[in-house]
Symmetry: C2
Subunit: 186 residues, 2 copies
């Protein structure tokens, strides 16, 4: 079974995090939602639109070897927190070295900060200036550049999830999830 680490930091974009988690779990991936331990309520993490989601584990209790990928949802609040968290930044570098890293919407900013953003990527159009990195591909819902995967924003989160299922599980499972969730537009 494939394993994916999905950190939630205060101000994360809820639809992006939940779409990624939902699609990946339907594809048979063991997804762990991680909290950063600087939240007031620890594992209860408040998103950008006032939705609170319960995370599964502390980011300080995970090791890279237990996972195949680490993927970041967007939302500027969460993105800045991920960019400033030393443990997250360290993990991003380890995942880039040994596994797969991913980020969407504003969160490629956190990849850039860790020095792991690739030569080609996508992101939320309004975040590109602040990410300030060459290789932005405006017309792609999802970009796979070696072991760095990126996606655009809320409307592409489900498609990003499917691309991860295809990569970590396989085409057939991805197609089943796509049909089951009515995602013909991906």
């Amino acid at each position: 079974m494939a394993n994916v680490l999905l950190p939630l930091a205060k101000g994360f974009e809820e639809l992006e995090a939940v779409a990624l988690c939902d699609v990946m779990r339907r594809g048979g991936i063991d997804v762990r939602l991680a909290y950063l331990e600087d939240e007031v309520q620890k594992e209860l993490v408040l998103g950008a639109n006032g939705i609170t989601i319960k995370a599964d584990i502390s980011i300080h209790h995970v090791i890279t070897d237990d996972f195949d990928m680490m993927v970041l949802p967007g939302g500027w609040g969460g993105t800045y927190a991920l960019a400033e968290n030393a443990r997250v930044q360290e993990l991003l570098r380890e995942f880039k070295e040994k596994k797969v890293v991913g980020a969407m919407c504003a969160a490629p900013f956190a990849l850039k900060k860790a020095g792991v953003l690739g030569a080609k990527y996508t992101a939320y159009p309004g975040a590109v200036e602040e990410i300030d990195h060459p290789g932005y591909m405006a017309d792609q819902k999802v970009v796979e550049d070696g072991n760095v995967m990126t996606s655009q924003g809320p409307g592409t989160a489900v498609c990003f999830g499917l691309a991860i299922v295809r990569r970590l599980v396989g085409e057939e499972t991805m197609q089943q999830v796509k049909e089951g969730m009515l995602l013909s537009y991906c």
Copy 2:
């Protein structure tokens, strides 16, 4: 400001609930997530794919006059709970009488149970047999039949949210949310 009540029952489909809430809140709607009080952890409600979301208020503390609409996310576990909950069923009848009711995926089953499903509706294709109601429209992402709104499933949840924003807030705001969230496929 428009107000929408969104009940979460154990086994709800997380992407549907969060997509609806996220889109509506971005459209300026005050969305209240309600719990049914039969959850083990009360306001912490576990979804169909293992994601726990914190609800805002108890369903027993809401009154119809405070809201413009009540909308149900899908997922069979949550749908059966909503169909069997006396307070939810009573509220559905009150909202159909005085306000707007909505449901998506499997949840039109709960509307049928309350006797408020209209002459035309849509739902998750695999749920239609169990809903067992005439007027199913297979090719529509969202159906508006008077004050009953319905939608198909996970992949159409964002589009359903936009249709609610258009109805309760207006076309201009809906277009802004649609563009901001990259929902060109809706």
